[in-house]
C-alpha cells in the first residue's frame, strides 16, 4: 500500500529512519549474523584457536541425547501451557461475555494479571506450591503425598506449566472476549429462536467463528512458552531437578553463560531462530488467509 500524495525530500526520511535502523543493525542483524557464523566454528579449550567445522556443531547437538530430551521437554511444556491457558481463558471469556450483573467488574479482575511478569508469577507460585512454605505444597504433604518440586522432576514440570499458563490466561482472555464481542448477536438470536441450546450454540456457531482468534492465540502462546517463560523456569526450578524442566531457551542460556561454549550455544541460537521463523511464517500465512475471507 502506498500513499498518492507525499512530501518531497530524501535527507529527512533517512534522518527519521536512522535511529531505528541503527539499533536494528547493531543489536539485531550484526549479532544474528555472528550467531550464524559462530555456529560453524569451534574454539579449542583455551579459546586461542578457532576452526571452521561446517555443520559439526549441529551434528553434535542432535547426536546428544540430552539435547533431544530438552527438545522433548520443550514440546511437552509448550503444548501443555498453550492448551491449558487457552482452555481456561476461553471458558472465562464465554462466561464474562454473557449479560450478567457485574460483567465489567469480572473483566477488570481477569484482565489485570496481564501486568504480572513471568518471573514474578513464578515467585507467587513458590508461595503456593513450595513444600515447606507454600499453601498447597504443605497441604499436599499433610495429606501424605510426597510433594517437592525441587526433587521430583514430574512435579517440577507440572509447577512450571501451571505457573506459565496462569500468567498467560489474561492475555488470551482479552483476545477471546474481543472475538466473542465481534460475533453478530443476530446470528446467535436466530439459532436461539430455532431452539438451539446454549451448549449447541457454542459448538456450532461461536467456536467456529472464533477459530481465527484461537489459531492466532495458539501461535502466540507457543511463542510465549518457547521464549518468554525463561523467567518462570529460572525463578522456580533453574531447569532442574536433573534437567527435568530445561527447555531449549534455558539450555542455550546455560551453555552460553555458564559453560561459555560459543560454538554449541551459537548452533542452538540458529535452531531457535529457525523455530521463530517457522512460528512467524505460520502466523502470517494465517493472517493472509483471513484477509481473503
Amino acid at each position: 500500500m502506498n500513499r498518492k500524495v507525499i512530501f518531497r525530500g530524501v535527507a529527512l526520511p533517512y534522518a527519521l529512519l536512522a535511529p531505528q535502523l541503527a539499533i536494528t543493525i547493531l543489536f539485531f542483524f550484526w549479532p544474528a549474523g555472528q550467531a550464524i557464523w559462530f555456529s560453524f566454528l569451534r574454539q579449542d579449550a583455551f579459546g586461542i584457536r578457532t576452526q571452521f567445522v561446517g555443520l559439526e556443531n549441529f551434528a553434535d547437538l542432535f547426536a546428544d541425547p540430552l539435547y533431544i530430551a530438552v527438545i522433548w521437554n520443550t514440546v511437552v511444556f509448550s503444548i501443555s501451557v498453550a492448551a491449558l491457558s487457552l482452555a481456561v481463558a476461553l471458558l472465562l471469556a464465554v462466561l464474562a461475555d454473557r449479560q450478567i450483573r457485574g460483567a465489567g467488574v469480572y473483566r477488570t479482575l481477569l484482565i489485570w494479571p496481564y501486568a504480572i511478569a513471568p518471573a514474578v508469577a513464578a515467585v507467587l507460585w513458590i508461595f503456593m506450591f513450595h513444600p515447606t512454605i507454600g499453601l498447597f505444597g504443605r497441604m499436599l504433604n499433610g495429606l501424605g503425598i510426597a510433594w517437592d518440586y525441587k526433587l521430583n522432576g514430574g512435579q517440577a514440570m507440572l509447577v512450571v506449566i501451571l505457573a506459565s499458563a496462569w500468567k498467560q490466561v489474561s492475555y488470551n482472555f482479552i483476545f477471546f472476549l474481543a472475538g466473542l464481542q465481534s460475533i453478530p448477536r443476530s446470528v446467535l438470536e436466530a439459532a436461539s429462536i430455532d431452539g438451539a441450546k446454549p451448549v449447541r450454540r457454542f459448538w456450532t456457531i461461536v467456536f467456529p467463528l472464533l477459530s481465527p482468534t484461537t489459531f492466532f492465540l495458539l501461535v502466540v502462546n507457543l511463542t510465549y512458552a518457547f521464549f518468554d517463560t525463561f523467567g518462570v523456569i529460572d525463578a522456580l526450578t533453574k531447569g532442574g531437578p536433573a534437567k527435568a524442566t530445561e527447555t531449549l531457551i534455558y539450555r542455550a542460556y546455560v551453555d552460553g553463560r555458564v559453560n561459555l561454549d560459543l560454538g554449541t550455544s551459537s548452533a542452538q541460537s540458529v535452531v531457535l531462530m529457525l523455530a521463530v521463523i517457522a512460528l512467524t511464517a505460520l502466523q502470517f500465512r494465517f493472517i493472509e488467509r483471513r484477509v481473503h475471507y
Binding site: T132, R138, F230, M273
Partner: protein, 301 residues
C-alpha cells in the same frame, strides 16, 4: 366450571413451564457467577497470600504457617525492604531497584514509541531509494527476539562498554517492528486531502507531522504505552545478562536474587518486594484499561 376457572387450569402448565425455565436460567446464572468468581480467586489468591505474608515476621512465614490474615509487621517489613532489601542475601534496597525498573520501563516505552513513529512517518510519507528495504529490515526483526541472539548481542553490548549501564539495559530493546507497523497502518489511513491542504497552506513535512500525524496517533500511543511499559518492566533475561552490579538491578531480577538458594531467605521481605514490584505495572494496566484492551487486540493482529 366457570370460564375464569378454565382459564386458570389451561394457564397452569404454561406458568409452570415458564417457572421452570426461569429456574433453569437462574441456575445457569448462578453457575456462571460461580465459575467466574472461581476464576477471579485463582488470580487473586496468590496476591492475597503475598500481601498477607508481607505483614508477618520472617519466622512466621519461614515456619510455613502461610498466614491468610494481616499481621502486625507490615510497616517494619515494607520499610526494611524499601531501605535495605533482603539483608541476608542481596542487600540491595528495593527503592533503588524500583527506580531502575521505572527508568527502564519508561525509557523503553517512550523510546520505542518515538523511534517507531518517526520511522513509520518516513516510510509512509516519502519516496526515497531503499524505502522498502528499510521497511523490511525493521519488519524482519520480529523474527529475531532477544532470546535467540542472546550471546552475540551481549558481546556487542560489552564491546561498546554498555554493561551495567542504563544504556545497555534499554537501547538494544527499543527497536520495535510491531509499533512501526501499527503507526504505518494508521498513517496510511490519513486522507490525501489533509496532506494536499497542508501543502497548499505551505506546511512542510515536519509541521504536518507535528500538527496532524501526531495528534491523530494519540490513542494508539496511549495503548502502546501500556503494552510497552509492562513489557519493559517485566524484562528478565536481558537485565540478568547485562547487569551484574546492584546499581542498575531491576526489581523483577532482584526478587529472584533475593530468594537465592532458599537457605536463609527473608521470605516476608520477598513477599513485600513482590507486592511493590507488582503495583506499578498493574496500576498502569487497570487505570488505562480502556485504551489498552482496544490497542492490544488491534496491534497484535
Amino acid at each position: 366450571m366457570s370460564t375464569t376457572e378454565l382459564d386458570r387450569v389451561l394457564a397452569l402448565p404454561a406458568t409452570e413451564a415458564a417457572l421452570a425455565a426461569s429456574r433453569r436460567r437462574r441456575r445457569a446464572g448462578l453457575l456462571t457467577h460461580a465459575v467466574l468468581i472461581l476464576g477471579v480467586v485463582l488470580f487473586a489468591l496468590p496476591i492475597w497470600i503475598v500481601l498477607m505474608g508481607s505483614t508477618h515476621d520472617a519466622a512466621t512465614v519461614g515456619r510455613g504457617e502461610v498466614p491468610l490474615l494481616p499481621g502486625a509487621e507490615a510497616v517494619e517489613n515494607y520499610l526494611a525492604a524499601w531501605h535495605g532489601g533482603a539483608s541476608r542475601t542481596t542487600n540491595v534496597p528495593v527503592a533503588a531497584m524500583l527506580w531502575n525498573s521505572l527508568v527502564m520501563a519508561l525509557l523503553i516505552a517512550l523510546g520505542k514509541i518515538a523511534i517507531s513513529v518517526i520511522s513509520a512517518y518516513a516510510v509512509v510519507f516519502f519516496r526515497f531509494p531503499g524505502r522498502m528495504l528499510a521497511f523490511w529490515a525493521i519488519f524482519i526483526t520480529l523474527m529475531l527476539p532477544v532470546e535467540v541472539r542472546i550471546f552475540p548481542t551481549f558481546k556487542v553490548v560489552s564491546d561498546l562498554g554498555m554493561i551495567d549501564t542504563y544504556a545497555g539495559l534499554i537501547v538494544p530493546l527499543i527497536a520495535s517492528a510491531t509499533a512501526t507497523l501499527l503507526f504505518r497502518q494508521l498513517f496510511l489511513t490519513i486522507p490525501d486531502e489533509f496532506v494536499e491542504a497542508a501543502k497548499i497552506d505551505g506546511a512542510g513535512p515536519l509541521r504536518f507531522f507535528w500538527d496532524v500525524a501526531l495528534p491523530l496517533s494519540r490513542t494508539n500511543m496511549a495503548a502502546l504505552f501500556v503494552i510497552l511499559f509492562v513489557y519493559g518492566w517485566n524484562q528478565y533475561l536481558w537485565p540478568l545478562l547485562v547487569t551484574t552490579s546492584a546499581e542498575v538491578e531491576t526489581v523483577v531480577v532482584g526478587i529472584v536474587k533475593m530468594i537465592g538458594s532458599e537457605s536463609n531467605t527473608d521470605w516476608n521481605l520477598v513477599m513485600a518486594t513482590t507486592v511493590l514490584a507488582l503495583l506499578p505495572p498493574v496500576a498502569v494496566v487497570v487505570l488505562m484499561q480502556r485504551w489498552f484492551v482496544k490497542g492490544l487486540t488491534e496491534t497484535e493482529k
